[in-house]
Symmetry: none
Subunit: 196 residues, 4 copies
DNA sequence: GATGAATGAGGCTTCATTCAT
DNA sequence: CATGAATGAAGCCTCATTCAT
């Protein structure tokens, strides 16, 4: 499954030959079929087995966390990055996005088990922050979505464009900027309000 | 090219058969080869012809814009959405991301002609905002990247997960939240600063 | 279809490679798929197209025949032999019998369109013979079945054991013996009756 | 061998997987190779071991029989049916016919050890009947062949078309009709002779 | 310019066979 | 003796590409 994930992410599902998966895994082509009924099933297994533990871990963290919403946000983002973003698993979103048209049930699984749970987690954090008076009042649901954007972008980036950059992006700096952006915004405190 | 884009985005490059492209375009398979030397060339043409006009238009808008940085930001985001996000072209990022491993030169082209120009545009807006005193001082480059995340997310969303949602996301509301988030942040003005 | 029939009969369905069918037909492997969706469909087409005209021809003959039942019987048997037995089509029964387990619907088609029609034809001849007083009274249905045995045997023989015989069986002589057997039996007219 | 025979007959040799043979026999796939060098050898063993005792028994019966030719004929046919036709062994002719093209030596073995011995047995009975004046004079050899047809047909029938019939054929009645047909023919005794 | 029949390389999948345990 | 995991050759099928019409 490790070998398959690597190749699926790198080349896409269709362009990956099972023979390559097998040889990277150090087994023969036929051996794959002892464990996965088909290439499709291999893909599903790769996604299911890879992503579920990570999302569960983030949920656990959020439940047990004691600290301000800003701190929790940083903790969750850092956890996601160390467990997924900085891992082969960061390729799964790319894979799902690319193959959503061909594997709608797999995309739906991901939507249900990862995206919805992730959004629930995030809206929970935001609502808690508002209740505690740490965050201002705002439209929680679309904001939570927007906040996932930069995180997703980083994961996709690693697997699609990183290699073209002269100096690899410093992830620490990126996360700091992300949290600053999200928590404090860009506008100068005493500047006029109008954005519309 | 329209037909090809549709199918490439929906199914991915490898899983799209030229026969389907041809029949959706209302021509025969052989006819495609009168206009594109190969399937690869068709992909490149689809990307090149689709994306360049859009980015140019955004650059022009920014050059000629008179107004606050916040207003310019809204104008640019709205333009991108109406010209790309709300269009078939919104599928191109998905396509490029999915196929970056198989078409590195195409990904590099996209990196150079879309991403870098987009980032330059965005950093330009931010720096201008800082210079004018409308925006606070911050680390411009990674912040510009982070700001692209939610926009990209919306484009990918349409082509990967939108169909699973009970009620389609209201894009207007999403953009408003995005701008609010980015300009003003989430933290309650008088709340303690510490995020770290 | 001709090439396929030849090879299916010679080697069996499973042991026949489509590549061999193609090359015997003088086309490439892919070409087959322009005309038949799969190997299974090719088999079905071979059987359907091959056998239906032959059975129809025999039915027509029987309808229009003027003469004694014995003469009609000879005419039908001779027709079957010249149109099927002495033809590649004689391999179809072998093929159907061999593959009935794997293609039950095809076997059922054959049962319905060939066997049942053939039995109906034969019982019709026999009943007419009895009505006309040309044939004695007997149990028509199982007798009709038994009468098909030697004919089927001859067809199977050609494709399974003929090559082992020092001198090929004289079909004329076989048919004469068959008719004599069936019409007059073996018992000496004045010999005692008891067979049980 | 029992399991193999069942599956070979049902699906044909090529379409039968050794794994299925093994699991039906209640052993593992590897175990088969402790007893048979290859799938081909298994087929040969199945045929050789299955069919030789049956033909020998028929020969013994004929040698020791005391009674009229008609009675002997009935005895032999009944014996064949109870020992082969009504047994799994009835599938062997189907198997041999189906695979004669792929296993010529096996077909030749069958031709030599079963068909020729069977024909010799049958011609012996017929010649004896003629000598004794119980049977009329006729062309013995092709007649003997023709007489095997209905018997073979019944064996093939069981394994190919029986399942499509609303009411299974009564074998007793079939054998009676067969003997009546063969011994007495169909023609009304006082009807005109001409069949040609 | 347009067609669509033909091609054949390539990939998924099966399964007979082997062999370490 | 028995197992069953592993192998890899072989076959079905797809589809990008060609080309005569």
């Amino acid at each position: 499954m490790q070998a398959a994930l690597e190749l699926f992410v790198e080349r896409g599902f269709a362009a990956t030959r099972l023979e390559d998966v097998a040889s990277r895994a150090g087994v023969s082509k036929g051996t794959l079929y002892l464990y996965f009924r088909s290439k499709d099933e291999l893909l599903k297994a790769v996604v299911r087995c890879g992503i579920l533990p990570a999302i569960a871990k983030a949920e656990t963290l959020a439940e047990q966390f004691a600290g301000s919403s800003g701190e929790l946000l940083r903790a969750v983002v850092t956890l996601i990055w160390s467990n997924v973003g900085d891992t082969l698993l960061s390729g799964i979103p790319k894979l799902i996005i690319a193959e959503s048209g061909n594997f709608p049930e797999l995309a739906q699984f991901y939507y249900r088990e990862v995206i919805q749970r992730g959004l629930t987690l995030m809206t929970g954090i935001l609502e808690q922050g508002i209740r505690r008076g740490e965050l201002r009042k705002f439209d929680v649901e679309p904001t939570a979505r927007a906040m996932m954007g930069p995180i997703l972008l980083m994961m996709l980036w690693r697997h699609s464009f990183q290699s073209f950059e002269s100096e690899p992006l410093a992830i620490e700096r990126y996360i700091d900027c992300y949290l600053m952006l999200v928590l404090d915004g860009l506008r100068k405190p005493n500047s006029p309000e109008a954005t519309r």
